[in-house]
């Protein structure tokens, strides 16, 4: 065996080791960052549950306006078309005396009462969440070729999870006949 061959079997130098560790840590922290981003994304899931219900609630409100006969078919439009439903995105407000959302008489922005750390509802510890980061738009348009008897009903809810804007859309049709 040639002793000289051992000269090529040197260990890593301190500098090399530190650099290697630095690369490794950067990688680990990067992976943790991705995990955190995933968790941030998931943290919007409570809002995802809420918006599906709020969109369905708006659609049902329009159907109710038709079925109750409190409004005429020509009123079941956006305000810009001579109807009662406000144009454009509106804050997620409680319905007013007419029982409908996204109309002129809407009440205050909706809140959700959470029991807080003590787990008891309706005491000083409660956490009141105001749904101010949500907007809801009801868009009603005539379907062409249906003689005005069928309308497209699209409810769009926009909400924010941190800086991320998310959109939930529910589309359906409403007929003049109930």
């Amino acid at each position: 065996m040639k002793p000289s061959t051992r000269s090529s079997e040197r260990g890593f130098s301190l500098a090399e080791t530190v650099i290697a560790l630095g690369v490794l840590i950067t990688g680990v922290l990067g992976a943790a960052g991705i995990l955190a981003a995933g968790v941030r994304n998931l943290s919007s899931s409570p809002s995802d549950v809420i918006v599906t219900q709020k969109a369905a609630q708006a659609v049902e409100a329009v159907f109710a306006a038709r079925d109750s006969h409190k409004f005429t078919w020509s009123q079941l439009r956006n305000v810009s078309d001579g109807g009662i439903f406000l144009d454009g995105p509106q804050s997620l407000k409680l319905p007013g005396p007419d029982g409908l959302v996204n109309t002129a008489d809407d009440g205050a922005i909706e809140t959700i009462d959470l029991p807080g750390r003590d787990g008891i509802l309706q005491n000083a510890d409660d956490q009141i969440v105001t749904l101010s980061q949500f907007t809801r738009e009801i868009k009603i348009t005539d379907v062409t070729g249906e003689n005005g008897q069928l309308r497209s009903l699209v409810v769009t809810i926009i909400y924010y999870n941190g800086a991320n804007k998310r959109t939930y859309t529910l589309s359906t049709f409403i007929s003049a006949y109930s």
């Binding site: 002793p3 000289s4 051992r6 000269s7 079997e9 040197r10 260990g11 301190l14 080791t17 530190v18 560790l21 840590i25 680990v28 922290l29 943790a32 995990l35 955190a36 995933g38 968790v39 998931l42 943290s43 899931s45 409570p46 995802d48 549950v49 809420i50 599906t52 219900q53 709020k54 369905a56 609630q57 049902e60 409100a61 159907f63 109710a64 079925d67 109750s68 006969h69 409190k70 319905p95 005396p97 007419d98 029982g99 909706e110 959700i112 009462d113 959470l114 029991p115 750390r117 787990g119 008891i120 509802l121 309706q122 005491n123 109930s178």
Partner: protein, 404 residues
């Protein structure tokens, strides 16, 4: 030997420095890793509780939307009068999971008839959670996937067509064709045949009535009386002294006193007279409540069909509240957000009582939390949702029906 001098290891100072740096770096990395694991754990709890809330709320909302199908706002007359036992509804289980029942909130029309409404509130009838009592709710609706059986004219006592039926003169049974989808099911449409314990809604020009199937054979459904096992709700009461029984929707030849059906609109009837053309539906009574007994410490949102096996929908429920918007919420009564019915208020100086038949909209609050505490926040992960459901079959307002 010269070559060995180039293979010198780290000096002790190099080793100390590198080990110290390594410890700091590894400590930081492990700390970050632990935080990531905790966050991952919390994310799992959040996903779990949200999935629970989503599944529970979705089914509840759908059931509420479809409540009152065929029945609408009038409700279904129920046996009452001297000697009749009150009609019952399911309540959350008692200690040890024992089944519980309570009396239905029936209401009396001005004509005296007693009705079970499509939606019956149960304010505070659930277990107390988070310091507040929870609500329950019972819904009646017709199974839209079950074909409707009708009694043909002229009457056929031994039906041959699949969707024909014959109601026995004393209403103790219904005869069907042996090939009826009610008895054999319908695999094409995935229809399950009628089972013992199913509720049948009879509807004809004289009104509506409910009976419970207590037994069946290849051509009959039977509605035995006083069968507490199969008819725990007591729909099968047909005593001659009672009012509001199924006999009251028979034809009305003459005698209005025999069966006690002498109140309008429940027509009189005599045992032995035939029924007018009657449609038979499978009725479903759905009850939602919180069950805090079966899984102590982790209450569950539970859905119960008729008196069947309870289905747990969502884990660790913190709250279940219902309130109701009533028929003329747009008027001066301000009858919105009513938690319990009947509800009496003063309108223009006149005392007015609203009952369950006037429900148009149901407001729901459901809250769930995670099963365990999330480490980052040292608290449960919570998600509560408020929503409103317009009950489709009850949304129409009949402005000319001053009776309701």
């Amino acid at each position: 030997m010269r070559t060995f001098s180039k293979e010198a290891g780290f000096t002790i100072s190099e080793l100390l420095v590198s080990t110290t740096i390594m410890l700091f770096v590894a400590g930081a990395a492990l700390g970050t890793f632990k935080s990531a694991l905790d966050i991952n754990d919390a994310a799992g709890l959040m996903a779990d509780s949200n999935q629970n809330l989503r599944s529970g709320a979705n089914l509840l909302v759908r059931d509420l939307m479809m409540a009152g199908r065929v029945i609408a706002g009038t409700g279904v007359p129920a046996p009452w009068g001297s000697g009749a036992q009150p009609i019952r509804r399911p309540l959350p289980p008692g200690t040890g999971g024992v089944k519980n029942y309570g009396d239905f909130t029936q209401y009396a029309d001005p004509d005296g008839s007693m009705n079970i409404p499509s939606i019956t509130p149960g304010y505070g009838l659930g277990p107390t959670l988070q310091g507040l009592p929870t609500d329950i709710i019972t819904l009646l609706t017709v199974d839209e996937f079950m074909p409707v059986v009708t009694t043909p004219v002229p009457v056929v006592t031994a039906p041959t067509a699949a969707l024909q039926g014959y109601i026995a003169k004393d209403a103790s049974s219904v005869t069907l064709s042996a090939s009826s989808p009610w008895l054999v099911g319908d695999t094409t449409n995935d229809t399950v045949p009628i089972q013992v314990g199913d509720l049948i809604l009879f509807k004809n020009s004289n009104g509506m009535s409910i009976q419970t199937v207590t037994s069946l054979d290849t051509t009959h459904l039977y509605f035995a009386q006083s069968d507490a096992t199969h008819d725990p709700f007591r729909f099968n009461q047909r005593g001659t002294g009672y009012k509001g029984t199924i006999w009251c929707i028979k034809n009305d030849p003459a005698d209005s006193t025999v069966l006690g059906c002498n109140t309008v609109p429940i027509s009189s009837g005599v045992q032995g007279s035939e029924f007018p053309v009657t449609a038979l539906f499978r009725l479903v009574m759905t009850t939602y409540y919180v069950d805090s007994v079966t899984t102590p410490g982790t209450p569950r949102l539970t859905r119960l069909l008729n008196d069947g096996a309870p289905q747990a929908l969502a884990g660790v429920v913190e709250d279940l509240d219902f309130s109701f918007d009533l028929v003329d919420a747009t008027g001066s009564s301000g009858a919105t957000g009513i938690t319990n019915l009947p509800y009496t208020t003063s309108i223009n100086g006149t005392s007015v009582t609203f009952n369950s038949s006037m429900i148009k909209k149901v407001n729901i609050h459901v809250g769930v939390r995670s099963e365990t505490i999330a480490k980052p926040s040292q608290d449960f992960v919570r998600n509560h949702v408020n929503t409103s459901v317009v009950v489709r079959s009850l949304a129409s307002v009949d402005r000319y029906d001053t009776d309701k």
